[in-house]
């Protein structure tokens, strides 16, 4: 397996790049959607219920099925993969944003109000910075899920490490299977570890 990976290092690098690109774009989109949505949901309590329900529905649907259900709208290739990954990444980030903002100590907010800070200032200078560790924790969960679903993206022609697994099943060669599966596993574990470190550092700073 290692020999195969060294001999085909160009291919390996390309597939890993594909994989990380999909995950990166999806996570970025998910952050852009769920952080504002989380802020809105904490402002208007009534919307929170709907936002969270919709999010958890997206979470119950199996990832492969999600990929399939989006095919009629996005066709095949990168767009459908990114769409599925993004939908999957929204809920963990959204819930953690809501929990983070809602969980800021009342007395801190009252102190800020007493100092004459506006609602917007309280949000951007107090609530959001204090929620960062939790938001990062949400991004961490979302990233692991995305790396996992991105391996299935090969089935809709979006590339990524799943391509090798796919070929391995077809040809019955273990080398392909392992050359796709091991880097995917390492990527998931590595990103989880890395974001865990970031989370730990942020937590240490805010407390």
């Amino acid at each position: 397996m290692i020999q195969y990976m060294v001999e085909n290092s160009d291919l390996m690098i390309m597939l890993i790049k594909d994989h990380m690109y999909m995950t990166g774009v999806a996570i970025a989109l998910a952050i852009l959607i769920s952080v504002p949505a989380g802020i809105v949901a904490t402002r208007w309590q009534r919307s929170a219920f709907w936002v969270i329900s919709l999010g958890s529905l997206g979470q119950t649907i199996p990832s492969l099925a999600l990929l399939g259900l989006l095919m009629p709208f996005f066709g095949i290739g990168l767009p459908v993969a990114v769409a599925a990954l993004t939908i999957r990444a929204i809920l963990p980030i959204l819930i953690n944003t809501c929990t983070g903002i809602a969980g800021v100590d009342r007395s801190i907010i009252e102190a800020a109000q007493g100092m004459g800070m506006s609602k917007g200032q309280i949000l951007t200078q107090i609530q959001l910075p204090l929620s960062f560790p939790l938001i990062i924790a949400g991004i961490r969960t979302a990233t692991v899920h995305c790396v996992s679903i991105a391996t299935m993206a090969a089935f809709v022609g979006a590339g990524g490490l799943g391509e090798l697994i796919f070929q391995g099943v077809w040809s019955g060669r273990a080398v392909y299977l392992l050359a796709g599966a091991v880097p995917a596993g390492v990527l998931a574990i590595g990103l989880d570890w890395l974001l865990g470190r970031v989370e730990g550092r942020l937590t240490a700073r805010t407390t």
Binding site: L57, P62, M71, P92, I149, A150, F155, L177, A181
Partner: protein, 221 residues
Amino acid sequence: MNYLFNNLDTVWVHAIEHVQITAIAVGLAILIGVPLGIFVTRVPRLEPYVLGIAGIFYLIPSLALFAVLIPITGLGSEPAIIGIVLYAQLVLIRNTAVGINNTDAALIEAGKGMGMTNRQILWQLQFPLALPTIMAGIRVATVMSIGVASIAAYLGVGGLGVLIFRGMQSLHTEMVVAGALPVSLMAIVVERLIVLLELRLQRNRTYVKAAQEGPEQATAA
């Protein structure tokens, strides 16, 4: 949608296969995970190791986990079931351990005061009180397994994933939807059913506070 309605019998056969694989795998996973969860509350020293190993299996993409198993077990239901069982362990072990460890200390003291042995305290106090938390773990594990079982279709074990994969390969979108829609419905319905079961379990307890404190795990396959 036409494909779905014109081939209801095929879809039905695959749905039954799907339920069978999931049921066998989840059953096995519970038989391993819940005792392991109880075990780590007895030997707390081992808890980080057991959870760490289960956590690694949980992190590995399910498709990659299956791919690693194929050279060892070959294709078929073996790698499918082993994969699902490994994947579900983290949630089951953790929820069981949390549920049991969260029992109100005062209740345990009272049990000891009444002359209960450790074993009696475990089976007559801690375990029943932990049941709702354990059930929540089983719910998450089951929903996850329904999803992972659809991926297992590429190992040749059947199930609704067959339609999804076959449709994706032939770019037959309607066939994909005919697999994806029922499997999503299955996940949602099963989730609701187990939630109802959890509520019933909680209502049956006169003292539920300790059990309710166990955290739920939101997750996905």
